[in-house]
Amino acid sequence: MPTFVYMTSCDGCGHCVDICPSDIMHIDKTHRRAYNIEPNFCWECYSCVKACPQNAIDCRGYADFAPLGHSVRALREEDKGTISWKVKFRDGREKNFVSPIRTTQWGTIKGPAEYAEPSQEDFRKQELAHEPESLNIDGGLPTLKPKQLQKAVV
């Protein structure tokens, strides 16, 4: 469901413009308020919904499966580290969810520059960079045993 802005609630701070990965949240030239310039290109990541400090951004469902009358609202609480979702269906049903903003401790995820530089040998491997350590899978990657491989060969 692409996003749209309630222009009476928006104060034109530009947070959604900064965070939108599709670069489709922009400031209109008449009222200096944010708007989604191309809902068809919206990835529906809801970054703007979660970032909006005025809770001015909502989601609009596609008409075929979510006709008029529904709503999806998000409340981001920085101090609690949560995002609460309230989904209202057209028939009156309501569902509420609370999600953590993140599920890992601050500082536990290393940035790309913090890993050792890959060698030429690493580029010839099947795994991607820093795999399997970065996948956090105990015991390494699951692989087929030689017998299983023989059975799989046609």
């Binding site: 200096r32 920085e78 609460s84 309230k86 209202k88 509420n96 401790q105």
Partner: protein, 262 residues
Amino acid sequence: MLTSNHFAALSAFIPAIVMQTYVAVMIIMVAGGTLFDTIHKKSATYFFNHWRNAKNKGTRQVGGGEMMSLAVQTAAVDVLTSGEFCNVQRRIAHLLTMYGFLAYVVTTVIMVFAYPTPATPAPAILPALWHIGALMVCAGGYWFWFFIRVDVAAEGNSPFRLVRADLFIVSLLVSVTLGLVWAYVQTTGSTIWANVFLGLYLLATTILFGSIPWSKFSHMFFKPAAALQSRVEQANGSRRNLPAPADAPKIYGSARRKPNHY
């Protein structure tokens, strides 16, 4: 310069009654423009419809005493200290511009109506407040215009790109800047340049107060109403359809930090 009443000095060329008439016309244009803006955009209709819907969706009634308390909170936080801004720089710039403009406008009206000629000297505090107010508008306004404005800060546009949304801030800044320039030139004794800048000052001021139906000048009237409505919606439980605050959430990570994506 800071303590001289430039309107009294101007009365040697323009009669006081003409200045007073001009100010009265500007006040009428503000009232008329705001009224036209409200009717044309149907903002009052939208506001009261929204108010009624929020009241119907509310889980509890807001009584008269609580409503009064919310109105006081709105005035103290949202209006007097520009509490709705989450960006501290933007809030400071807005406060500078707002209080500067109020001081500048109020002292202008007092000096033009109560002390319009050298025969009625104004207390030194009035022209001083006029200059300080104008300088505050310039400080907050140019800071906003060149650095904080979302078109520049988030969109990456040139600060010199002009669109219709800029009508209010540009006309305000040009008007106040030209007012200060006119006041300075008047003290130098150059009559021709003083008249040139007076003409430009009047032109910019007329655009500022005459363009209300197309600019966001009237936000100073409807923003407080919207802020009150927002507080009432929080109090009556309708909460703009937002979910309730999370209770007893599991906290992930102790060293929480401010978001830095903006």
